[in-house]
Structures are given as structure tokens and as C-alpha cells.
Subunit: 218 residues, 2 copies
Amino acid sequence: MTLDPARLDMPLGEVIFSQRSIRRFRPDPISADDLQLILEAAVKAPSGGNRQPARFLVLNDPELIRQFGALYREAWWAKRRDENRPWTRREEIPPEDRGSASAARLADEIKDAPCIVLALSTGKGQASSVIPSVQNLLLAARALGIGSVPTTIHPQVQERVYRLLDIPPEMEFHQCIPLGYPRGRFGSTRRRGSAEVACMNRWGAPVPWAREEAALPK
Amino acid sequence: MTLDPARLDMPLGEVIFSQRSIRRFRPDPISADDLQLILEAAVKAPSGGNRQPARFLVLNDPELIRQFGALYREAWWAKRRDENRPWTRREEIPPEDRGSASAARLADEIKDAPCIVLALSTGKGQASSVIPSVQNLLLAARALGIGSVPTTIHPQVQERVYRLLDIPPEMEFHQCIPLGYPRGRFGSTRRRGSAEVACMNRWGAPVPWAREEAALPK
């Protein structure tokens, strides 16, 4: 095993401006060297008082991922029910709701992902000390050509997930991140420009790079 | 104003493995081009359902930063009181507690920072859709040679901060990030290795790159 940070040689701008959620994966495994590099990048992120409460559980055992995938799928549909979306099958999702269609397909297919990382923390209320690590993880994966998407799981299945993976109950779950080489073609992200979501010195005052015709922060 | 992502040309590995919290700043201003690039990097981060609830308020007006700094300082000491740390002045902080000493100095000096970014969100419970943007912001700043540190403010001053900056009450505050060129010398971060905080397939099972003598995840 060798840890070689120089392998993350993609320029930061290219990584950040091309990083996007990937929900379709090829079955090819992620090498242990790549996993180590991705996780070392994750632990470098800041945490409150440098207490480093983030913990990572990496799944790459196919049978375990299949079992986890069944729970993930149940959780995904439970969340639709909570959101009062009256769908019970993928075919009922309106085709124009591409985000939900894509997330529903992931819920079906995550059981075949080559790798899944669960991000947890020792102690409660630590999101701002765990999520930065997850973002580093997503960026490092992107720089290695590995796709990822941050997802959650519904409380309905949490206890069973903890039991399946021997996770101590005092650990707080934050995110579930499947990893794999992308399958198919993906475009770039669609995001608002910073001038639409940033203001200067007082709320609602435009940033210097806002064009007059651009929408101001709302 | 020109947005040139190619200026973020530092390799991702170098950025992530050298990024660290900076709490002492030179007074030199941050250019609007740099601010735009940093904020465009921020908005590229993922958010739940791509709803993009993150909002940024950038302060670079010295008088406003002075006023905000006074509230930040009050908030920092209020937090010590909450934590039952019996200090009322910087001189009382044990010298071996370098983290607290450094944070206390920031509380005194933040009023002179050339720039402060507040990260907020529309709606509550959006930390996992805001903090990834903040991490992108820290990394982009690092790649431009600009120091930063994610901090919070104590509820005791929040209403006054909102009033000072005209922030609508429905916005949720997440983090306060001073930005500036580093003053003085800084070493690298001290973080646990990933083998100490990651496990494989079941809680407590070592990752393949864990040396036998290394501590297992706790």
C-alpha cells in the first residue's frame, strides 16, 4: 500500500468546476490504494477544535452491499412517503422530474455499487465537522475519475443498518456515499451563479461582479 | 471582472494536504476577482436535490467588519462561559491550550480582517447543503494563497449580527469565515491517519492499509 498525494494532480479548479453527482456506476472495483488516498484526503478537512469526530465505514463486500442496498431502497421510498409524493413505483415518477427519476434508479442499483462509504461521527451535532471531510472525499474521488453522490438514509431503516454493520448506537449517521467509475455520459452541473446567492456588506446589496440585469439575492 | 477557473491551478492533492486553519491575517485586501472565483467554487458544491439553499454575505467594509468583530469577540467569550471554562481574559488561558489561545487571539483581531464571509441558508436544517460549499470556499482560498478558518457565532449575539447586516430572520446562520493573506508562519495540520478513523465492511474491522500496530477505530 502506498499513499501518494501527488496522484491527486488534477488542478483544483478543474476538480471543483467538473465535480458532479454520479448515480450510475460500472461494477469495476475501487483499488485499496485509491480508497486510502480518498480517505486520507477526507481526514485532512477541518473540524471544530480539531476534535476530528468523523468516522468512515467503507463497504466493498458485494454480499454486504446487496443487503445494505435493500435497506437503502426501502429507505428511499419511505422518504417519498414522508414527502407526500404519491409514487410507489419508478414508473409513476413524472419523467420531467429527472432528479427523482435518477435518485430512484440509484435506489434500485446501489446494491450493485462496487463501494459505499458511510460517514458517521462520535457524538451528536457534529455535521459541520463531518461534512467538510465528505466534500474532500467527493473531490478526491473526482480527481481519480471515480464518481460519487452524497445521499442519506431514512430513520425507518437506520437501526437495521446499524445492526447489519455492527455500528455502535452512539455513533451518529451523516451520509452514505456510493463510489464507482461512471457508467454512461454526464453533463456539467447546473448551479446559480454566485452573484445570485451572494451579497456584499449588507443583505441584498449586489456583489461587484453582479450584472445589473442579474437577479439579486433572494 | 473576469472569472478564470484556470487560476485555481494548484493540484488538488497539494491543496487538500496543505489546507489548514489560518487565524492571523495581513491587512491586504482580497481582490474582487479572487472573491468571485472563491464564491463560484463555493456554489459548485452539491446540495440536497440541487436546491442550492446556501447564501453568502461577504463583508469587506472596514467599519462594518469592526462592528461585526466586536460582536464576534463577545460571542467567543460567551461560548467559553457556556463551556464552563473559567477564563475571562486571554492571559488566563493555559499556554498549553494552543487552540484556545489562537482562537482567542482571532476573537480580538477579527475586527481587522480584510474580509469575512458569512454562510447562511434559506430554511432550517440545511447544514449538509451549505457546509460542502464552505469547504470548496476554503480550498479555493488556499489555492489562491488566501488563509481562512471556519468559525461559528454564539446565539447571544445572533440577533444583533442580523440587525447589523439586514439579514432576514428566516435565514439560518451556519458559519463565519474570515479571509486574508496569512501573517506569520504556519506548519501543517495534525490529523489522525485514515486507518484510525475508518473501518472496512464491519465496524471495528481494519482497513487494508492499517498496520497491525496502529490503533483501530474507536
